[in-house]
Symmetry: D2
Subunit: 351 residues, 4 copies
């Protein structure tokens, strides 16, 4: 009953097998000049239905920070939701990597409307004394596990582009979003106006593998230099590439994400049906948000469940917990077993 | 006959098994709060015979850059050999991470003498207009594959400490040095005055695992913040910890290093005995430097050997290649098979 | 009728005389080792009734940015009002100088209440993933020209100190605040818990002279290194020191500020009395905020008045402009002539 | 007998008068939107015989650091003479402003030959692991007070441009060089291939005024943003512009420089003629380098002379002091009175 986070999980078996294969293969050039990496680059272009540049790093913080740094001068500014991972969870890394400043905007349940984004951007002063807005970072699924449709994304991207800003998509759980939306990866990235994607492999079943996908390959060289200067170029690079190769092969990444999403749906159904718990909103992907009392939480934890309470600072009035309640987040993963969900539902029923 | 670099190799089998075990184990907290990481911290303290703080990162550039950043204010300066990896091979990462400036000092075959280091340090102007020297970074084995003895290291560290500088040891191939010297890890680190060590696992048989070892654990918290802000905190942290755990277990790291060193000795013997090749100096660990002509190189490469030519910019007059010769570097690793060496020696004999 | 900003003014005559005297005096050591600078340091300690360290720079942006950088590690965070100069008007300089991230808090009319500040600080997540709050920057007079009393400042400083944060006071118009409050400089700085002050001379009658005042002189050396590394150490330093010396001598700074404040009061009285204009609030120092229509503004400008419209983004509902109105800011200075104010009042009467 | 440095001097009378005039003039827009600044921009374009962009700052460190930062990405590298001001006297400011790393090259008496510069540049490794060389910074007059001819500068600039590097000219004493060479400012800047110039006003008779001159005005906007972000934009900007305006007016800058150069010549003649002192080399501009004993120095100082000893670290064997000698630097300025020189020559005669 581990619902604390999807990064508590191990890694998918094919990914582990790929690590072993990479480790036992004959020596190959380091720093990305190997055959596994080259094959992977072709695979990404196929997957996204266009020529892309893909640059691998071991952490999501690095992926996000390098991605935005490539699209902002030091006197630029990065804009994201006020609870965006980039804004509060990465210990200043985006500012460190880019030199730019950060602006936080509110949005109901973390989902920008075009009007809200436009108004937020237009309220930030720009010019010589203020610097220039350079990048909007959106999240899919977002901070509350919710999704934009391709059309919604395209409208938001247009708001950014109309003002001369680039669009970054933080896709730490991109697989879960794509699986849920049932769209092509291209539909929620470059076709919707996304300029650069952080495509997370780790939470979805890799061990440590994140990809920065540039839809304009001309920026690749700058990004390669930035990655090296940031100490993010893995020397035995094929150990990262091999993870992605195995994870993307034959749709494994989507199968794993679909499983995680389904487990989240089951959890959500049980929570909605239980009189002592209240679903905050239907899960967009694999994160379930729910209201219940600390006493209920304690009983669930006593039964072996693990999950975190969550900040309500960014929630609107009608989304707030009622008397005695708190907000909780439960995350499923590729590794969540149906038995765990069943045990949780049984614990709910026993409340 | 892969002698290009030890980071062309794969990973040792026990390391790969540990990765698989970590991937299949039950979920555990992320970001280093897991049981594997905790066990590893104890192991490092045992290994170094004192309480140390150990902070893991995926690349050697990150290890070096974070290590020195923790010991310098932004107006400080880092001093190292003019061909030190930190100085020329890390694309400005040490400056980026620390904000400090870099000074390069010459030294015969990259080995500082106490007098040379003292003179070099004392010739660098210090004060309000110049900044302050803050860290000396030494390398073991060094840029030419050579070693300091514990006594030599201690004398150099004293030169630095006498002037108020901290001592960093870049140990990308620390295992090879310890194996060759036959000393305790403590003898060439804190007992010799080293303040912080970059302890490389990757070249020695891990997939991607480097450790920063702080001999004053009080600096741990600062280093943890710096690592996170640099995007270097692996979320599924046990995948890094597990590699070190397996690699350090039952002396595997030293066995692998001893093998690599022995292979280097065999190569060196063959090169010294061959009339068409000339050994530059006896290998200190697992890197063999040799002089021979590009034609000889071409014939060895035609026989399947892989190795790089090397810069002679930092060499003294009597170390320089003679007419028609160039300097070449051949590196062995834990994965070098005796058959490869035998094949190379046969190719030499056939010249 | 120049009410656009107090930095449109020239400089006070005694300041200009001091520049001439410094320019004609016999040569003296550069970089602050001169007799004028030494005398000034004593004067500051006298003025603040305790031993202080004073570090001079030519711009307010540098003063603010160096001041906060001295009190935050790179993984720290600076907190200020959402319209604070540091937060939106300095093109990322505080982040650049410190490496820290910035958090913006709302406050009615820019004046924090202790409860509001505490709640704002406590809502910002802290820890390894978020970084640590390190400095609260308050402004006196604030972004809306309003003042804290010494008691209010002390309560806010206590909120910050209780949470381990240092307190910076942005005093670009500190003279106007002190003159209006009728307190000792110590009362609204160290006695109220302020750790470091940006004491602006430029807007108050200097040509280009800003002082960073450290109430803990032990941090002086770090600040000196930071100033030099930032290219902010004036070589002919006495040209900055001489300005402050003349400006502080015999209470000139307070006389000039009192004059500016009085001119602001006259403006405010006239605006309050005019049926076509509406005073937003009584001026705290030398900035008058008023509501009137763009047509009224156009007529005042046609009569020769200069002033700016102002953002209402941070204002509460009952402070907002009514139909047809906009918010305008009019600033007086040491150089504002009573005839200018009279001409403006006549223009108001003629509306 | 103040020969310690030209920044010990005050300021030229016309500069002081211009400061007073700027201070007493009617209010004008801040931050460079004033009439004095606009007039100055035209004057610089006239002076350099082409459209240039000129950006003013208060310190030479800022001028140099902003100039090079505008021509290097963070993964670039700045190359200069090993005793260049940028390399050792600016406390890491160039690295701080640019993020780039610094490489120091030797050169006899600080004067690069084309072969020496080419060899130096070509010996620095470049590529993904090393970063890319981006800027060569030359100095005129250089660290030893010596000059390049326009032809020599052009050859060096070609060496840099051939390798894709931009050329920065550090002209802290540019006036002295131009006066001595008797050339047009264009001849030793853009016509010789210089991309950006730090044109120092302070040492030559201003109080605090340095200009960055961009020969490609398209980079102006980036530089303006960089200046603001660095806290280097003076709010009452005309106080800087007015200094340059007065200093450049009717050739004052060259008259003052010619005077300083002549005073240096007289000093050099006397030193060369004295049996107890030895001229190191003929002064290129206004800095005299001489060898004599500490005892001689003590007697000169006892007679009232002020000057500094100087590093010989970068000197060739035949330039080194002989037994009992040290190297000393004596600097003249616009403010050096012939009586001071006469007194010094008398003291020499009395040795």
């Amino acid at each position: 009953m581990m619902f604390a986070s999807d990064n508590w999980a191990g890694a998918a078996l094919p990914v582990l097998e790929a690590l072993v294969a990479a480790g036992l293969a004959r020596p190959e050039p380091a720093y990305g000049d190997d055959s596994v990496t080259r094959a992977l680059e072709r695979r990404f272009s196929d997957l996204f239905e266009r020529e892309v540049a893909v640059v691998l790093v071991p952490t999501g913080t690095a992926a996000n920070s390098l991605a935005v740094a490539t699209f902002t001068p030091p006197w630029g500014a990065i804009v994201a939701h006020e609870e965006g991972h980039l804004m509060i969870d990465e210990c200043g890394a985006p500012e460190f990597y880019s030199g730019a400043r950060a602006y936080r905007l509110p949005a109901h349940r973390g989902l920008f409307t075009p009007e809200g984004l436009a108004a937020g951007l237009d309220a930030i002063p720009q010019g010589l004394h203020h610097g220039r807005l350079s990048v909007v970072s959106l999240t899919l699924p977002n901070e509350f596990g919710l999704l934009y449709t391709p059309g919604e994304l395209a409208t938001l991207a247009a708001v950014a582009h109309d003002r001369g800003l680039a669009v970054h998509l933080d896709g730490a759980r991109f697989a879960n979003a794509v699986a849920r939306l049932g769209v092509a990866p291209a539909d929620v990235t470059w076709r919707a106006g996304v300029d650069v994607l952080s495509f997370g492999g780790t939470k979805g079943g890799c061990a440590m593998a994140e990809a920065i996908v540039l839809f304009d390959p001309a920026r690749r060289e700058e990004l390669l230099f930035r990655r090296k200067r940031a100490g993010q170029l893995i020397s035995k690079h094929r150990f990262v590439a091999a993870q992605f190769e195995a994870w993307l092969d034959r749709g494994l990444w989507l199968d794993l994400a679909t499983h995680a999403n389904r487990m989240a749906d089951l959890l959500a159904d049980g929570i909605a049906a239980c009189p002592h718990t209240r679903l905050a909103w239907r899960p967009g992907a694999n994160e379930v948000f729910a209201f219940f009392s600390p006493e209920t939480a304690a009983r669930l934890e006593a039964a072996g469940a693990r999950f975190y309470d969550w900040s309500t600072a960014a929630l609107a009035a009608d989304d707030l917990p009622r008397d005695g309640e708190k907000l909780w987040r439960l995350v499923t993963s590729f590794a969540t077993r149906p038995e765990e969900v069943a045990a949780f539902l049984a614990a709910l029923a026993a409340l």
